[in-house]
Amino acid sequence: MEEIIKDFAAQEYKEGFVTDVAQEYIPKGLNEDIIRMISAKKGEPEWLLEFRLGAFRRWQKMKMPHWGHLKLPRIDFQDIIYWAAPKRDEDRPETIDPALMDTFDKLGIPLHEREVLAGVKPKGEVAVDAVFDSVSVTTTFRKTLAEKGIIFCSFSEAVREHPDLVRKYLATVVPVGDNYFAALNSAVFSDGSFCYVPKGVRCPMELSSYFRINAAGTGQFERTLIVADEGAQLSYMEGCTAPMRDENQLHAAVVEIIVEKDADVKYSTVQNWYPGDAQGRGGILNLVTKRGICKGSGSHLSWTQVETGSAVTWKYPSTILKGDYSSSEFYSVAMTNNWQQADTGTKMIHLGRGTRSRVVSKGISAGHSENSYRGLVQMGPAAEGARNYSQCDSLLIGSTCGAHTFPVIRSQNPHAIVEHEATTSKISEDQLFYCTQRGIAPEDAVALIVGGYAREVLSRLPMEFAVEAQKLLSVSLEGSVG
């Protein structure tokens, strides 16, 4: 077992390279001038600048939250560059810098429309919006999607080309003053994805965003807005990586999802930000707010997340179940190692009648890491016949890590049922013995047991992601001898 823990720590982060491209920055620091500068760089309309400034003024009055089971390093918000972008080549303004092409190729993210994601050859295609530091590099398959009336582009483009839609939905799910980091994001957000699927349209391919932090001393503040109109259906995936650095870099994103009547949205994340080294130096501080609303009756929103990276994760993808008989799910695998800390979970807020939700959370902690599940299930007075089932399991590898569960259940309805259960365990000697006596090497046995433990969640991921996630989990265990 000692060996396994050691090898866990020795695991390398293969996405940790830096791309050498000419980049342009704005000065360090945060004030109204900086915000005006960001807004001007992006050529934004007046209303959006006002929105940013309003958010900034709110943020200045707010305090950093400390309720998480986390030891956050002090963040100096004046020491961050809030906008960095690769320079456009003057001679070829329309094409993408080959260095960026290479970067995304290396990460397995094809920016050529003829290729597909992640090494496997699935039949379906994937449309990618690739975000590099503060700007979107390209969005693929836009034409194919546009034929169906689907809008999939970077957030900045959406502001230019579909201002009415953006204005109608922006900050309706995560209000500007929702929390400290949401307010910060609303003030300085750079790029992200915007997606709109019109009435009754099934999206013919997976949509995906890939976020890459490259420049040093910067933070990434992306903003994603997904709208599924009546009866629409879409599956969206998100991936992220960053170079290895000794400093902590801040990533404070906001994701908003609006699901109208009978629409169906599936949101999957494989989060693989740089987790810091074995001594706990560096790594991304991943402090994000993700929330969706099942607005119309019969709507459905499903969250699936695999969290393996980041020095600190502070993330609670939540659903407001407003429409009658709407439903939501949350499936999560969170793995922490070395000195990583994760405080993650979900909130299911049942407002409509007959709403249903299901939460399955699997935590795996190793090394000196801390892994917490924090959740809320709330049954409002009108949530007649609503139902929730939550299951939170923790797996501990080694005796120096911690696993915690902090659920809150609130009910105001005598016709609603809430059930929650949680267990904590380790990979038992019996399980290992059972495998090894059948000729399975200890390292394979551990991978097998961890894989089986996380299977319920991994099986929910879209094919392309499931392969990647499985690899991520098993790579962590590679070469370990028990």
Partner: protein
């Protein structure tokens, strides 16, 4: 094992308990109707082999305000703790349960279980449950479970179809729900609780 029963409002309840090596404690807390309380109990398991068996029930049919906080701390290896709390909440009552199991880094081979179940009987009542685990040792068996629900209409129908009047049937349902805790009480107290469940 001796089972100590405390009725809130009649008996004085200890706020802090410490169990030494091999010590076993069984304890039942009863919050009868018309009692407002903020109950805080902390138990430290400080010697190997100590064992805690804790149960409680709270009945809040009117406008009670009940807040129960339990902290069970496993500081050393080989201890066992079990908790079972059951509540029935109606009227405009507010009830909350906040239970934390803490397992220190050296407390290997710990077994700790916690359950909290509530029935909600009215639109205006509110319940909150926070079962929490904070675990720093790996060789442990820990679990918790929490539910909130209501009296099952199918069960009610079953009883009524066999000629049991509605009020009585409901009372039976509630007795059945509370049974695991009720049977730990001395006969006269259990009788008293039955009487107040109508």
């Amino acid at each position: 094992m001796d089972n100590k029963v405390y009725v809130i409002g009649r008996d004085s309840v200890p706020q802090y308990l410490r169990l030494e090596a091999g010590e076993e404690l069984s304890m039942t807390l009863v919050v009868p109707p018309a009692t407002d309380t903020r109950l805080v109990l902390e138990v430290d398991l400080t010697g190997p082999g100590a064992s805690l068996d804790l149960a409680g029930l709270y009945l809040c049919p009117d406008a009670e305000n009940v807040d129960i906080r339990v902290l069970v701390r496993h500081d050393v290896p080989h201890c066992v703790s079990r908790q079972l709390f059951k509540g029935i909440v109606g009227g405009t009552a507010r009830a909350s349960f906040d239970g934390l199991i803490y397992v220190a880094q050296d407390a290997q081979k710990t077994e700790a279980y916690q359950e909290n179940h509530t029935l909600l009987l009215s639109d205006t009542a509110r319940v909150e449950s926070r079962p929490q685990l904070e675990i720093y040792a790996d060789d442990v068996k820990c679990s918790h479970g929490a539910t909130t629900g209501y009296l099952n209409p199918d069960e009610l129908f079953y009883l009524r179809s066999r000629g049991i009047p509605e009020a009585e049937a409901r009372q039976l349902q509630m007795i059945a729900f509370l049974a695991p805790v009720l049977r730990r009480l001395p006969e006269p107290l259990a009788e008293e609780i039955y009487g107040r469940l109508s």
